[in-house]
């Protein structure tokens, strides 16, 4: 064969391969007729049945499929009407919700007060549920064949969050006349013909009660659908069960959950047509995925935070979250045989508070690397009305201790705790029953790298004030349920997350003396604190409550019961193609109906170019191979 013929054949082959490549690949480009918001999650949801849900991956999906009676104004912690258009909080421990009219479920069923009642009773403790179902009130009022088999529905399983609903005494439908009608039609009642109030009674005054009805677990589900689908169906494919802005499309286990826009949503109709929650286990893959635009939104990894922040195609949001991290002192006088009791002295605790390098913990690369905010008081800034923003660290003109070794030394010296025997460690004879050296034990849970490193940091700075620190790591359950509650550590680091969105959760379990030996590990035992916390819990006037919490805060700060350490920040990252994302202080991806997305301008190499490159490479390989074969191998 002549060379020119060979070359032209080769050229034809290359071109035809490239052309076929373009033809084959071109449908890939011609996609994107709908707008899809893709969200990367680190794990699969556990369930899509609200009453059973407690993990964040499940809650994020559930909050978009279902609505709750009470919801939040986007990006804030202020309540707004959800499926309840309004509510009254009566002083005698009762909340009355007025149910929204003209709301339809995703299958077209109208939402009725019975749906609300049915959904709410599911989260209650078992004994209360059976009482509700057996009450003559329900049995007489409705001839509902589903009543008797309620326990068959989910066996004897209780909701994972039932404990929070223990203060609830009764939930019932009522016709108080908000809409002005009186005909009771039971489960067939449609919102509008009366009986569209839900009355919730608490067994004791419980001011935070309202926030319970904003939980994902208290989402309102279509009871007919739920009964038909059964527990398995509700868990994996709740079609038509919710009223939320997005309806369930599909869930491919360990891959993705797909939700479609619900056109008849009673609130803001979503801008995007579809939301996909993709499960991407590997953290580095998630980061690469958002950098290349494969996903639009995620909770960033703290390790990749600064990388994402510097990316021009990505927007980030950082804000103090709802959890707190503190270093607690054992304040009780005599806990066990080995306790010094020296930390029961407020001034000693004050001195130690000055020997903690808060700045290093918050900004140090080995610690939070700038992804946290200094904690100043028990409650977090997101709960604005109870937060006292005038409390600041000393370097910002406030009163909170900052890292100041000199001051810590001065305070200890002034107490007369000095190094007598010259071994570099202060001696505390007379303060203790067991030892001469000022020696403390710091506890942390094994596996928590930050807490372990904080131990090392403390050991180092405590050495500078003549205090010897022994670091002791324990397994989580031993750490929490054995060591802390039995006073085996002098100081330890621990976190707290709110059970409900109310200051009560940041005070009552942690500082009321009734919880000493459990959640009040520090052993705070101040009667005025107890009184005020009980008052605040029963009070319905928010101004009075706020004042009570601020008073308690002042006492606790002046008592130095904790070293107020930091609040981990909520982190969000999204592509610049996404607009209208509402970053919830609750660290959840609610309110996706406000998100708009503009298709990106096809970054990367065009498909045609790839096709040509592939075509050329294949052609060269084929021709080369043939030529090589014909020529025979060189010896």
């Amino acid at each position: 064969m002549k060379k020119s013929v060979k070359y032209s054949l080769a050229l034809v082959l290359m071109l035809s391969l490239a052309a076929s490549g373009i033809i084959i690949l071109s449908p890939i480009k011609a996609q994107a007729v709908t707008t899809t918001l893709k969200i990367a999650q680190g794990g699969d949801p556990i369930t899509l049945d609200p009453y059973d849900s407690w993990d964040s991956a499940s809650n994020d999906v559930i909050l978009n499929i279902y609505d709750q009676l009470v919801m939040y104004v986007p990006s804030t912690l202020q309540f707004r009407p959800g499926l309840a258009v309004g509510w009254q909080i009566l002083p005698n421990t009762t909340i009355i919700f007025n149910i929204r009219r003209n709301v339809t479920f995703h299958n077209g069923d109208p939402m009725t007060p019975y749906d609300v009642w049915w959904s709410l009773q599911r989260v209650l403790p078992l004994y209360l549920r059976s009482a509700l179902f057996n009450s003559s009130y329900i049995n007489n009022a409705t001839a509902n064949p589903h009543h008797w088999n309620w326990s068959e529905y989910d066996g004897d399983r209780e909701s994972f969050v039932w404990l929070l609903f223990e203060p609830v005494k009764d939930i019932r439908m009522a016709d108080i006349g908000f809409w002005g009608n009186t005909t009771f039609t039971g489960e067939n009642a449609t919102a509008g013909d009366g009986w569209d109030e839900i009355v919730v009674e608490f067994s004791e005054p419980f001011a935070p009660g309202l926030s319970l009805f904003s939980y994902a677990a208290t989402s309102i589900v279509n009871w007919k659908v739920a009964t038909e689908l059964g527990p398995h169906g509700m868990k994996f494919a709740p079609v038509g069960a919710g009223t939320g802005p997005f309806k369930f499309n599909s869930w491919i286990l360990n891959y993705k959950v797909v939700l479609d826009k619900w056109e008849n949503y009673w609130g803001q109709v979503p801008h995007v047509d579809r939301v996909e929650f993709q499960t991407i286990l590997s953290a580095s893959s998630r980061t690469l995925a958002i950098k290349t635009g494969m996903v639009d939104l995620l909770y960033p990894e703290s390790a990749d935070w600064y990388d994402l922040k510097s990316d021009p195609n990505i927007e980030t949001w950082q804000e103090a979250g709802l959890g707190t991290r503190y270093i607690s002192f054992q304040c009780l006088q005599n806990v066990t045989g080995r306790m010094f009791g020296i930390l029961s002295n407020t001034t000693v605790r004050k001195a130690l508070s000055y020997a903690i390098n808060y700045d290093e913990i918050i900004n140090g690369e080995l610690f939070l690397n700038g992804l946290a905010t200094r904690m100043t008081q028990p409650v977090v800034p997101a709960i604005e009305w109870a937060y006292n923003s005038s409390i600041k660290p000393e370097d910002e003109g406030g009163i909170l201790p900052i890292y100041n070794i000199t001051k810590a030394n001065e305070i200890l010296d002034s107490l007369g705790i000095v190094d007598v025997d010259g071994d570099g460690i202060r001696d505390i004879k007379g303060w203790t029953n067991s030892s001469d050296d000022f020696k403390l034990i710091y506890g942390y849970n094994i596996g928590n790298a930050v807490r372990e490193r904080v131990g090392t940091l403390l050991k180092d700075s405590f050495a500078q004030i003549g205090v010897d620190l022994e670091i002791q790591g324990d397994e989580w359950s031993v750490f929490l349920y054995d060591k802390i509650v039995n006073g085996a550590y002098d100081i330890w680091m621990l976190g707290w997350g709110p059970d409900y969105i109310d200051p009560d959760t940041y005070f009552y379990p942690l500082f009321h003396s009734k919880f000493i030996w459990s959640t009040n590990g520090a052993g705070v035992n101040i009667s005025s604190v107890d009184t005020m916390l009980e008052q605040a819990r029963a009070e319905t006037n928010q101004t009075i409550r706020a004042q009570l919490y601020k008073n308690v805060t002042n006492i606790l700060i002046n008592e130095y019961v904790w070293a107020w350490c930091y609040i981990p920040d909520n982190l969000y990252a999204w592509r610049t193609t996404v607009t209208g994302f509402k970053h919830s202080p609750l660290d959840q991806m609610d309110d996706l109906e406000y998100v708009e997305i503009t298709p990106s301008a096809g970054a990367g190499i065009p498909v045609e170019v790839i096709a040509i490159i592939v075509g050329v490479v294949v052609a060269v390989a084929v021709i080369g191979g043939i030529a090589y074969w014909r020529k025979g191998a060189p010896a």
Binding site: N254, Y255, Q278, T279, S284, L288, E475, W629
Partner: protein, 338 residues
């Protein structure tokens, strides 16, 4: 041939004690790890202790270990692998594995193609041109391939071909799903329904993971083919072939290659068996919902029944792959008889 059938049946019967042993071992190992699935679900104190206790009862985790084991065995022999506890609570495990498996199979298909199509020629050429530059490059390449951690190679491929030069999709996620899912293996489904988009998307999405995964097997196969080829090239019959004037290519490909492929078959067969068992790291890095990732997830979350079922599944696949290799031997080498 009669001997062969008897042999196969004998081997299949041998499966039973092996499977029992695997199950017992896995069971003991899983239960000796501190922690349990319910504690995982209730981790960080989010589940009330009461709920934890109830779940432990529901799943029978309060029973003595040997009773748990025999209950499990009884269920398995009735074809009931149980339901997942903590990975996808309540999901049927057979379903979970059967949904995940096609993705692993597809990954294996691509990796095996790379392994065979690149590994064997590379080994042959390397042996043919012993001690040349080509040989040295191949050998060093194979050494690198064997020593490179899969997850590292995966991330590097992602960064180079997914981010810097965005030719291939970064992750498996986002793959075009075929309209008709007959087999669950998208490549085959695409061909069955003549859906070119699915075929191309499958090739594009599996390119990086199969290269990352294939690199190791590829290197092993190359080294194996090279050494057995060198051995065969020294045999008398090769000298005879050359002496009778056979062309070099015919000598190499017709006489030498066939004989040198015998040991390579073993390696390839076992590699494929191993790949089918799930490429944990590759599947994790590229977010492929395959068997390997499912089982890792199960181990991390103490999902006892899922781990047991997964290990059982892998063990059976591995044993069958072994059996197939042995049978192939008889076919490839007429001297071998069972």
């Amino acid at each position: 041939m009669k001997g062969l059938y008897a042999y196969i049946i004998r081997r299949l019967i041998l499966l039973i004690p092996v499977v029992l042993g695997v199950m017992l071992l896995t069971f003991i190992l899983m239960h000796s790890i501190p922690g349990n699935p319910v504690a995982y679900l209730g981790g960080s104190g989010k589940l009330p202790p009461d709920a934890v206790e109830k779940l432990i009862k529901i799943y029978g985790l309060d029973q003595p270990l040997f009773i748990q084991f025999f209950l499990y065995l009884a269920n398995v022999f009735q074809g009931n692998l149980g339901t997942s506890i903590s990975v996808n609570p309540g999901a049927n495990i057979t379903d979970l594995i059967l949904t995940a498996f096609p993705h692993t199979v597809e990954l294996t298909i691509y990796s095996s193609i790379i392994m065979v199509l690149v590994g064997i020629p590379a080994g042959v050429i390397s042996a043919k041109k012993r001690n040349s530059l080509t040989d040295n490059v191949t050998r060093v390449g194979a050494l690198i391939g064997v020593s490179m951690p899969v997850f590292w190679l995966g991330i590097m491929l992602q960064i180079v071909f997914g981010v810097a030069i965005p030719i291939f999709p970064l992750l498996w996620a986002g793959i075009h799903e075929p309209a008709v899912k007959a087999t669950g293996i998208y490549l085959i489904d695409g061909f069955l329904s003549l859906d070119f988009r699915t075929i191309v998307d499958s090739i594009m999405h599996y390119a990086l993971p199969s290269i990352a995964l294939g690199a190791l097997s590829l290197s092993i196969v190359t080294r194996m083919v090279r050494s057995s080829m060198l051995e065969v090239l020294g045999e008398d019959y090769i000298r005879t072939a050359r002496a009778k004037g056979c062309s070099e290519n015919a000598t190499i490909y017709r006489h030498a290659l066939r004989n040198s492929l015998l040991p390579a078959t073993t390696v390839i067969g076992l590699q494929i068996g191993g790949l089918l068992g799930g490429a944990v790291l590759t599947e994790t890095v590229f977010a492929i919902p395959g068997v390997g990732r499912l089982i890792t997830d199960a181990i991390l979350k103490y999902d006892y029944p899922l781990v047991m079922a997964g290990v059982l599944f892998i063990a059976i696949i591995y044993i069958i792959a072994n059996l197939v290799v042995d049978v192939l031997y008889a076919y490839l080498d007429p001297r071998i008889r069972y």
